[in-house]
Each structure stands twice: as C-alpha cells, then as structure tokens.
Subunit: 193 residues, 2 copies
C-alpha cells in the first residue's frame, strides 16, 4: 500500500504531541530532526533528536542531505532526507511535526505528494487555559506563546486540512479519516484493470 | 456545520446502490432526478424520480432549472438545482448518484465545492461475477455492461477519490472518512479566532 507524507503543525499548547502519541506506531513513523544543540536531561539521541556536532551538520548540509533546516541563535536544526526512506522502508506513513515555516518549506519540497495538517485549538482562550494548566511557563512566556499562536493561526488557510483539537478522540478520528481519504486518491491506488 | 455535495459514480453491478443505502439518512440527502419517461411498476414519484410531462420538463429547461440534463431516445432526464437547496435546508449532505458524464458535468458546475467519488470494483472479473449472480441480465446484456464498465473505469483518474467496493463495511468506512476529511478543509471550517 502507498504510504503518505504528513506534515503536521500547530501552536504550542494545542495538544499536538499528545494527539500524535495516540497514532498507532505500527503505521506511523515520526521523523527525527538533527540538531547541533546539546541534549537536555532525559533527551535520547535518535528519539528526541539526532544530536550531532556542528562539523557533521555542515558536512550534511554541503552534501545536500537536508529537506529543510534553520539556524536558531547558534544552533542548527534540520530534517534529513533519509527520514523519508527510513519510514517507507518500514512500510509506514511518515509524520513531520514542524512549526509553520518548516511545514511550508516541506510542503513546497514534496508538492502534491505530501499532506499538510494544521492542529488548531477550538478557541484562543482554550489555548490560554491549557498553557496555564500546564504550569510550565510564567505569565510572560504564556503571553509570548499566545502571540505566536495568533500569528501561526493566520497560516491555517494554507494547509490542506485543519483538525480542531477539542476532544482528543474526535481529533484522532479526524486525523485517521484524513489518512484514509488520502489513500483513496486515484493517483495513490494501484488498481489493475 | 458546512454540508457537502458528493457526486458519486461507478459502473453498473459495482454495488453502488447497496453502498449508498447504508449511508445514514439523517445526514445524507439523495438527489432525485426529473424524467419524462413513464414510471415502471413499483417506482414511486418523488422517490425514484420526479415523473413529469415533456411540457413541464421543457418549461423547467427554459427557466434554466437544471444543473445538468440528457436526452436518451425520446426521454429526458435532468437534475434540478432545487435539489441542492432541498438538501441544505434539511441540513444534510447532498448525494448525486450519476453516470460518469453527468458526474463530470456536475463537477464542472460546482467546481471545488463538490467532491467526486468513483465506486470501483476490485477487478473486472469480480464485476462480471456480481452481474452474473444478480441474474437479471442475459449474457449479451452482461457483455454490454462489462464493456461499458471498462470505458467508465478510464474516467476514474478524473475523480477526486476512488472507493474500491470489495468489502461493504470497508467501502462504507472509506466513504465516511472522505466526508470527515473534506469537512476538515480550512475553507469549510468556520473558526472564530
């Protein structure tokens, strides 16, 4: 069966990680990014990120091995093309969990082959509530995140689909429906007539 | 919630009527065509067709009340625009069950607003088997229908989606997944940010 490339984005606090964690591991491979930043306590190489030196990252960049990359302060982050082959050799759908600009870059790179999905909060006040309930950020951080969320939501209409994460089960059902529908595209069905 | 226009087509014997009969009536309104031909025994006016006189049909035609129409021998068949309002006033998705040319005409009429779905048999020999098992047509009729099916299958790639009707439950699940996915299009979601 043909496998899909899913580009998933959405504001911080929308519950994207929780939602994605509920997708069956047997069917979905989650792309792991490369980074030059140091691992934080608890982070696992090859799971959270591939932690590489700046030299290695630059070599990969010169060999054109990244689908997209960015520099944030003195750290580099990139998505290696090899993640695509990795997912497909496992016979799984590939999932990119990226911010909106990365999503836009990947969408352009893959064209019609990829499907972009925006995970949206029901309302901005629900998002504010969730960020507060997380209790990991102070008021200023929360204000910053909400401002960024407002900006990100303006990109929503550029996505192929939007999944409103109000109820987790409903959001999961919508995500799986999108996968099922996209597998029903004539150009993805190999029918032997 | 935004309601969809589904244009559904597929060869005779593919099990399209059975499949569509399994869609929940509370959510789906099936467009009824107008025709000038006489009702056959058991056919109900307003259910199988709206049976009208040739004069009435011509008046409707002049008033531009048909989305699409055809003449077959001396009989006329048409899809009235009023079916759209009827479905939407009931708050239901509108389903057109039409042959491939009608599907293509409706798709052009509605543009991106409508979704075209082709119901396909797993293989042509499965289709042949089903037509034979129906026992309603003689060998020549079956040969004719298979030839027509072969032709219709060449239109498949012009449809937005293809649902292979191998297992009825799976086909129904795919159809409902397409509806759910299409309701998750950014341009169909009214999010109040």
């Amino acid at each position: 069966m043909k496998r899909l490339i899913l580009i998933i984005s959405g504001p911080s606090g929308v519950g994207k990680s929780t939602l994605l964690a509920h997708l069956p591991k047997e069917e979905f491979y989650f792309s792991v990014s490369h980074t030059t930043r140091k691992p934080r306590p608890g982070e696992v190489d090859g799971k959270d990120y591939y932690f590489v030196t700046k030299d290695t990252f630059m070599e990969m960049l010169q060999r054109n091995e990244f689908l997209e990359w960015i520099q944030v302060h003195s750290n580099f982050y990139g998505t290696a093309s090899s993640e695509v082959e990795k997912a497909f050799s496992l016979g799984k759908h590939l999932v990119f969990d990226v911010e909106v600009i990365g999503a836009s870059n990947l969408r352009r790179k893959f064209g019609q082959e990829a499907i972009s999905i925006f995970i949206a909060p029901p309302t901005l006040s629900v998002l504010e509530e969730r960020l507060k309930n997380r209790g990991t950020e102070n008021d200023e951080k929360i204000r910053e995140r909400l401002q960024r969320a407002s900006l990100e939501l303006t990109y929503l209409s550029f996505f192929d689909y939007v999944v409103v994460n109000d109820d987790l089960d409903q959001a999961k059902a919508s995500l799986l429906a999108i996968v099922r529908a996209e597998l029903s595209r004539p150009w993805r069905c190999h029918l032997g007539y």
